[in-house]
């Protein structure tokens, strides 16, 4: 293991509670012990990243090592959020992976143009999700070097 599990923070922007549960379960089963933080839309994502609103006084706010981003969210959607992260000098070195139901060619292209580090179509069942999470963890936390 390159990193101690407890030191890895993954920030997941996802508005669907069922999908959040599924991801939590899959990450827990892969027994990595990573610190998972869920936010429900793009607005809350920035409140977390910039320690504003309900995160202003929280001591547990850690800079994420990786952001997983749904595209279709209320208030501020994923592509807007991605553009804003990549335009912010304090945030843009954090890799952002899109994990979404959408599969339009335009969304794929926009994701990479805006600086996304991967576009993954969200698997519908738990077995396929487990496989995706396994490969994702292996790549980002065993193979790749992150900014720490």
């Amino acid at each position: 293991m390159k990193y101690k599990s407890q030191s890895v923070t993954i920030l997941i922007a996802e508005d669907d509670p069922d999908d959040c549960l599924l991801m939590e379960e899959v990450f827990r089963e892969s027994s990595q012990g990573y610190n998972l933080v869920f936010v429900q839309d793009g607005i809350e994502l920035f409140e977390y990243l910039r320690q504003q609103a309900s995160y202003a006084t929280s001591k547990s706010v850690k800079r994420p090592d990786l952001i997983l981003l749904d595209l279709n969210m209320p208030r501020m959607d994923g592509l807007e959020a991605l553009a804003e992260i990549k335009a912010d000098p304090n945030l843009r070195s954090i890799p952002v992976v899109v994990l979404t139901m959408s599969s339009t060619e335009e969304d794929v292209l926009r994701t990479y143009e805006l600086g996304g580090a991967g576009f993954i179509i969200k698997p519908a069942n738990i077995e396929a999700m487990a496989e995706v999470v396994k490969v994702l963890n292996q790549y980002w936390f065993e193979v790749v070097e992150l900014t720490r």
């Binding site: 060619e105 143009e113 991967g118 980002w140």
Partner: protein
């Protein structure tokens, strides 16, 4: 799971011939793709991507789905090449993974800052390299969807 219809084309910019050979062998060993092309520095990389100079015939330079980039190269190094790719509207959609011997925090930070999709420190052993290429392939070829590549 996202299935790529066409084989994923990798383009690696690497000036060291021994390293090119090792990467090619690691690709064969890890069975992720046999479509890997090589250029030797940043100038040649941009010529390739823009179909210029000795790459004027695009059929000899299929557009890559993913670029692997060494940092330390003559003429134009990886940092300059990366910045140029990411500021070109026609090229910036291509993900660039830095693959280098460096593990300096400054190189890691700067690479992500100027738009690298990932930063990989080249393992020193061949087995380590094969493992890294396997991990790279499982991510970028098996689970990630890349932009449709319209190369004829």
């Amino acid at each position: 799971m996202a299935k790529q219809v066409k084989p994923v084309i990798f383009l690696m910019a690497e000036d060291d011939p021994d390293d090119r050979l090792l990467i090619r062998e690691a690709f064969q060993e890890s069975l992720i793709s046999n479509s890997i092309y090589f250029v030797e520095d940043g100038v040649e990389l941009l010529d390739y991507l823009r179909c210029q100079d000795k790459y004027a015939n695009p059929s000899h330079a299929p557009t890559p789905d993913l670029i692997l980039l060494d940092l330390n190269m003559p003429r134009k190094d990886g940092r300059e090449a990366l910045a140029e790719i990411k500021s070109d509207p026609k090229l910036r959609y291509i993900p660039v993974v830095v693959l280098t011997t460096s593990k300096a925090e400054e190189d890691i930070m700067r690479s992500y800052d100027i738009g690298a999709a990932s930063f990989i420190t080249k393992p020193v052993t061949f087995d380590g390299l094969v493992e890294a290429i396997k991990g790279l392939g499982q991510y970028w070829v098996q689970i990630v969807r890349l932009p449709a590549n319209n190369t004829p």
